[in-house]
Symmetry: C2
Subunit: 216 residues, 2 copies
């Protein structure tokens, strides 16, 4: 039950999944450079050589986790955008486009969701990842372009660069959802901000972003 669903066509060794999950968790909590192969194999309860046998290297392991999680998140977002387009004759309104961008990661953030740690991993890897990660991010531009194109169509009154900047701002709002920042906010608000209320947070984010997009 704690195993993530498997996307690979073949059944992989249980050891590989144990390593994958332990690495994702430790990377998300402590950062890539602060976690050694020894930490990972110890946490997974497998042998030290497992990482290199199953993934080739520590870097390849990070890369594979990032690639898989990014693909999963992009797929969820693309599906929501597609459904919104279907509902509106191919031209969804701003609010629904923003929701398609925000809702999937917020769903992952839910404490009741196994993927809570995956989202932390993704946000962190985006900041700390090396050259290989940036390569994926470049590829991911084609994923983002679906959203920028939809927003451009939904905001004909705005200059195109304005639309790009506002999309940039929304992405910043999403990336702010790290444990550290949420904890800090919890301290600042003296406990008023409940981090387990992801439905409320989603609503707040969409409201804020939609209002920002409708600014003069």
């Amino acid at each position: 039950m704690s195993l993530n669903e498997e996307n690979a066509p073949e059944t992989e060794a249980a050891t590989k999944q144990l390593v994958f999950n332990a690495a994702e968790r430790l990377f998300a909590l402590n950062g890539f450079q602060n976690v050694s192969v020894r930490d990972i194999t110890a946490e997974a309860g497998v042998n030290l050589a497992s990482v290199n046998y199953h993934f080739g290297s520590k870097d390849s392991l990070l890369f594979e986790i990032f690639r898989r999680r990014t693909a999963e998140l992009s797929r969820e977002r693309a599906r929501m955008l597609h459904e919104a387009a279907d509902r509106h004759g191919g031209k969804p309104p701003v609010r629904e486009i923003i929701t398609a961008l925000i809702a999937p990661p917020l769903r992952w953030l839910d404490p009741a969701n196994d993927r809570r740690i995956s989202l932390q991993f993704l946000i962190r890897a985006r900041s700390e990842g090396g050259a290989e990660i940036r390569e994926v991010l470049s590829t991911d531009v084609s994923h983002l372009r679906r959203f920028s194109d939809a927003l451009l169509a939904a905001c004909p009154q705005l200059a195109p660069e304005e639309v790009y900047w506002r999309l940039h701002f929304v992405l910043g709002m999403i990336h702010q959802n790290r444990f550290m920042e949420l904890d800090r906010l919890h301290v600042l608000s003296d406990g008023l901000t409940r981090e387990d209320d992801v439905a409320g947070l989603r609503q707040r984010m969409v409201d804020f972003a939609a209002a920002g997009f409708e600014a003069a």
Copy 2:
């Protein structure tokens, strides 16, 4: 001229400043863990032992850079907030509070500003820093509280937790201004977003954030 102004009461060794500047630059560009003491001293053109002699350890060096830059940024923000309060009888409007939060880091982001690299360092250290950094961030809550208090006073129609969340969103927008994210946006927009137009960016950020704060 490439030296940063000195805040310490005493004149420090030129070597110490060289190390400080080289370390800030390399940390900002490559991340803390990816920069060795050897890299720093090589870039600074000083001896390998300089880091330990002047700063005690690599960790202490990071910490000192972070502490100084954080203090500088907080001071600029607090001054702007104070001036805004003076202009409005102690109760500045939302837009001016947000501007006090956004304008200083955006000023640092200007390519014509020596501090461009300092802002990159700060954003990165906030993500990648260890336990000591988080300690400073906790202290920094008292700095943020000036802004949350001002916003609470300026938004009596909003529930307090709403104000805290919206402040959280604005901080996310600010932290999104890393080289990597700006480059990515530049690719996505096919060159439309000009990263050297910081005045325009500041206006866009304030407009977006102010509109978000005025959402129902």
